[in-house]
Amino acid sequence: MTRLRATLYYGILWLISLCFFAPIGWIVLSSFKTQNEILAMPPKLLFSPTFDNYRALFANDGIFKQIANSVFLSLGAVIVAVVVSFLAAFCFSRFKPRGTDFLMFLLLSIRMLPGPAVILPVFLMYVAFGWKDSHLWLLLFYAMFSIPFSVWILKGFLDGVSTRYDETGLVNGGSWMHIIFKVVLPQVRPGLIAAFIFNLIFVWNEYLFNFIIGGVNTQNIPYALMVGTYSDGGLNWTFISAMTSIYMVLPIVFIFIFQKYLLVGMTFGTVRGEV
């Protein structure tokens, strides 16, 4: 009886998980189908896979640049954001400037602004400064947007590292640089990885700002998806499925590699996982 219940229980869990996975499975399978097979009713589960969609996708030269832009902007912005946030969070955690809590609140308040509300002033500013369509300035914009939340995540982790470790480092002749990077950093690795992945997902999926304050040079994959969808007059399903399948690779790879850190990271270190 109990065995039956356990089997049933796991069966349901698998079913729910598969429901979540279904759209991903569908889009990946679709990328190997022809347009007619994709739209077939009832859906065709058995089909002979074709690579035509991918061939068509990569036949367009622009696509390589768009993928490269996405990778460069995401990784660049996130690395900048994590480095800056780690140092900022270290200062908040260790030197506790007056009004730390309020400063932390102010910092996060930028994330309470909806993008569409600020897109126009940001656009005007970027045009006025001549920053539009520049990799560097778009990257810094993304970094700016990623920093507040990263500081929050990392401060939680840094507060969990006892200052006794810092003191031992100081007494034994370590400099502050040594303490920050050799003593404290190795102990907040899950936090750094969590901040890295959260922001990576945000920047990787960002469309609006790329569209408005980016330009021809900085087009990323979401931009390509949006524009390519209607390119042949109707909905170009073969393009959408192939592009999306490529698009998902990077986040999936990172999440797969770092999944054991993610639980600890997402719970701000409150759940002590074996990492």
């Binding site: 003191e167 034994n172 400099s175």
Partner: protein, 354 residues
């Protein structure tokens, strides 16, 4: 290198942690700082290693004031009260840490780590990480790391606290061995006065941020400078009885001694000087702690609590509620001023009148 604290003051808000503390530590000595928790031991050590700045005062090391030097420039090794072992390093790497930071050659580091690990019998732990160690093992690794610094003064802040009795005994022996090996100056804090008495060459009694007395442990024990030092050092705790001098005698409850002088005093009597027998002042036994070889007997002497320690050779300790006779050798009574707590001349002659 002689180490000298001069007028060190430190306050946190309105709380005075150190109150113009003076202390001289002779080069090569093993000085134990003993006082109750919060008496200022840890703060003094943190100021010495440079983790806190004193509000006032000087720390003279061989005559040079180091009170404002950054911690890295002070030749002081530190074993903090909590172990603070780096979880991402192995035991060997943790121990090597001070030497690695000081850029010692690798084979020299390995040699020193091995030797210290041998003395503290933690060689079998070298490859483990701190989370695989028990409390006692962590403590030994922390001690090893502190002592491996290439320093002239080593500061150990209550390194044996929280260890079980057997382990403490063993670590105390190992520390004595290390001290001979290193030939450095040691400053050691503890709130356990027995530990202090057994380890110290020089015993400094600290209370409320001031040094009450600094002398060899036997001197502190037998000849305390103030009543509080008598109270803090020794176990079972010494008896402190209020008394009155005048008219050629000293009166403390039912006890009478012939004495000169006048004024209110406090009588300090070590428990081992309270003799129990059929004769003497009658007292009621309220509690007996039988420790096997000796017994601590708590007495009620006409409303005045009194503690006695007696050796159990072929005698049995008295029963609870029994009446026993108490006699005290006047020469063993230490006299202190009732208001200042300062030591006064003791009772030279005469005998106790029941």
């Amino acid at each position: 290198m002689t180490l000298e604290f001069r007028g060190i003051a430190k306050s946190y808000g309105k709380t005075k942690a150190l109150d113009r503390l003076d202390l001289t530590v002779e080069a090569g000595s093993f000085t134990v700082l003993c006082g109750p928790p919060k008496s200022g031991k840890s703060v003094l050590f943190r100021i010495l290693v440079g983790l806190e700045a004193p509000d006032a005062g000087q720390i003279l090391l061989a005559g040079r004031d180091i009170a404002k030097s950054p911690p890295a420039q002070r030749p002081v090794g530190y074993v903090p009260q909590n172990f603070a072992l780096y979880p991402h390093l192995t035991v060997a790497q943790n121990m090597a840490y001070p030497l690695t930071l000081a850029r010692f050659p690798r084979d020299e580091i390995a040699k020193r780590v091995d030797r210290t690990a041998g003395i503290l019998s933690i060689t079998h732990l070298l490859a483990k990480t701190p989370d695989q160690l028990s409390g006692g093992e962590k403590q030994r690794v922390a001690v090893a790391r502190g002592l491996l610094k290439d320093a002239e003064i080593f500061v150990l802040d209550d390194p044996l606290v929280g260890l079980d009795y057997k382990l403490r005994e063993r670590l105390m022996d190992e520390l004595k061995g290390l001290r001979e090996e290193l030939r450095a100056t040691f400053l050691y804090a503890t709130s356990d006065s027995l530990e202090a008495l057994s380890m110290a060459q020089v015993l400094a009694v600290i209370d409320h941020g001031r040094i009450l007395q600094c002398a060899p442990p036997a001197e502190v024990y037998h000849n305390p400078a103030v009543a509080r030092a008598l109270d803090l050092i020794g176990f079972p705790h010494a008896n402190l009885l209020p008394g009155k001098l005048g008219g050629g005698q000293l009166v403390a409850g039912p006890l009478r001694f012939a004495a000169e002088g006048s004024g209110d005093v406090v009588l300090g009597i070590r428990p081992e000087h309270v003799r129990l027998g059929p004769a003497g002042q009658p007292a009621r036994v309220t509690l007996v702690e039988n420790l096997g070889g000796e017994a601590v007997v708590y007495l009620d002497l006409d409303g005045q609590p009194l503690t006695a320690a007696m050796l159990l050779l072929d005698n049995d300790p008295p029963e609870i509620d029994a009446m026993v006779g108490v006699s005290i050798d006047p020469a063993s009574v230490l006299l202190f001023d009732a208001t200042t707590g300062a030591r006064r001349d003791g009772l030279q002659k005469a005998d106790a009148h029941g």
